[in-house]
Assembly symmetry: C2
């Protein structure tokens, strides 16, 4: 393999950090590397909000779980789809900004292509990281804490810090259950891939001393109700079209 | 810096490829490395469809532009948000699958965290790549070509091949126009960052011998109308909730 692929394989979500700070130089290096990710027609429809204010960090830690690591980690960032730059440019020309789901979708995609580079760059510099979907528990409150203008749509957070734990790697679905040729497989094939993964997942949990269970049991529980209702209303209230 | 960050800086979208194939071993390596990206609660809500059928490739090349590179590149993949695995698991338990925008959003985010690793892994193996948003020109037609079941939502394509060109790097917005502290900047600050970038962008175009223009002129044109209408209807027709 090679150092880049090895770095990807070294990924673990890290949830405990030392008190060491994340240097400003490293943040700039990770930004520049992150921004090298492709972006649709150079649109760059994303931004990052670095939360340095301790009170705001604690408020966000509380709404995201609570997850105290959001407050305690070396640096905490919020990754946003950013339609505002484009709104301001269009309005300056006297036209009206108009968009469909395409703009929000590209915002989410390009923010995430950036974020994975940003994240991997931090890991390559010796930091541990953890994405925080929990900020979507209460986006209206987050919006108030950060006083965000129209067009700025927070998607998820990222904790970064010097690792204070060495977690093991959680197994993934086998590549042949994720990569298909020319079409999607039959339901029988999909179930077979899930069954194989359930076995690997149970072994992983058992080896960690956790209660043995299966991936599909967790999934069945998670997708039998509509999680985090109101996200659509929130993003529409910030000027994103979802149509 | 380090080899991983250097690899990110080496990124260029490559649009011309030699006739050399992409090896099956490299595809598996890139899949495994891609799948090491974080995924929310291990949900893994994405899949990749490798288009090896030449007729289908040409049909997709046509609807995506036409963009002949989609047909001609060494390997072409379609990255999808995949809610189907979860639908099948929930239905097997006798419950009803239910979701909100959260599921589609996490599908899009996690697919893209995967895709950026997948893409960077291919680049680290010596290939050139280009994301293809053009598949969203006609998702109902793509859906027919691939015969996709409920829950599978194509997001974008990825061309991979041995580079047959060495394009220069397009400049990005400055990090201080993308990374903010605790809130979003004022409109005056945003406009100042755009103006600085417009200058760099014009220089880049001029140096390439292209018609000099600005980034903001391209953006003003692009966001004065709702591009690709109907995406929301399409994803809803595949069982995704956007509420």
């Amino acid at each position: 393999m090679n150092p880049t692929i090895d770095q990807m394989h070294a990924h673990r979500s890290v949830r405990k950090y030392t008190d060491d700070p994340v240097s400003a130089e490293h943040i700039t290096q990770a930004m520049r590397a992150g921004q090298m990710a492709a972006t649709s027609s150079a649109v760059q429809p994303y931004c990052v909000i670095h939360i340095t204010d301790s009170t705001k960090r604690q408020q966000i830690a509380d709404l995201a779980g609570p997850q105290q690591k959001v407050h305690d980690c070396g640096a905490f960032f919020i990754i946003c789809a950013d339609l505002r730059k484009h709104m301001l440019i269009v309005e300056k020309t006297g036209q009206q900004y108009d968009s469909s789901l395409e703009a929000f979708l590209v915002g989410t995609i390009d923010a995430s292509l950036f974020a994975q580079n940003f994240n991997l760059a931090f890991e390559s510099l010796g930091y541990g990281t953890c994405y925080i979907g929990g900020i979507r528990n209460d986006l209206p409150l987050l919006d108030k804490i950060l006083n965000l203008p129209q067009g700025v749509c927070p998607l998820y957070g990222l904790c970064v810090g010097v690792p204070d734990e060495s977690p093991s790697s959680r197994p993934r679905l086998a590549p042949d259950a994720m990569l298909f040729e020319n079409t999607y497989p039959t339901d029988a094939e999909t179930h077979a891939g899930i069954n194989r993964y359930d076995e690997a997942y149970t072994t992983y949990l058992t080896e960690r001393g956790a209660q043995p269970s299966t991936w599909s049991a967790a999934i069945a529980k998670k997708f039998s109700y509509a999680a985090r209702p109101g996200l659509g209303d929130f993003f529409r209230s910030k000027g994103a079209s979802l149509d």
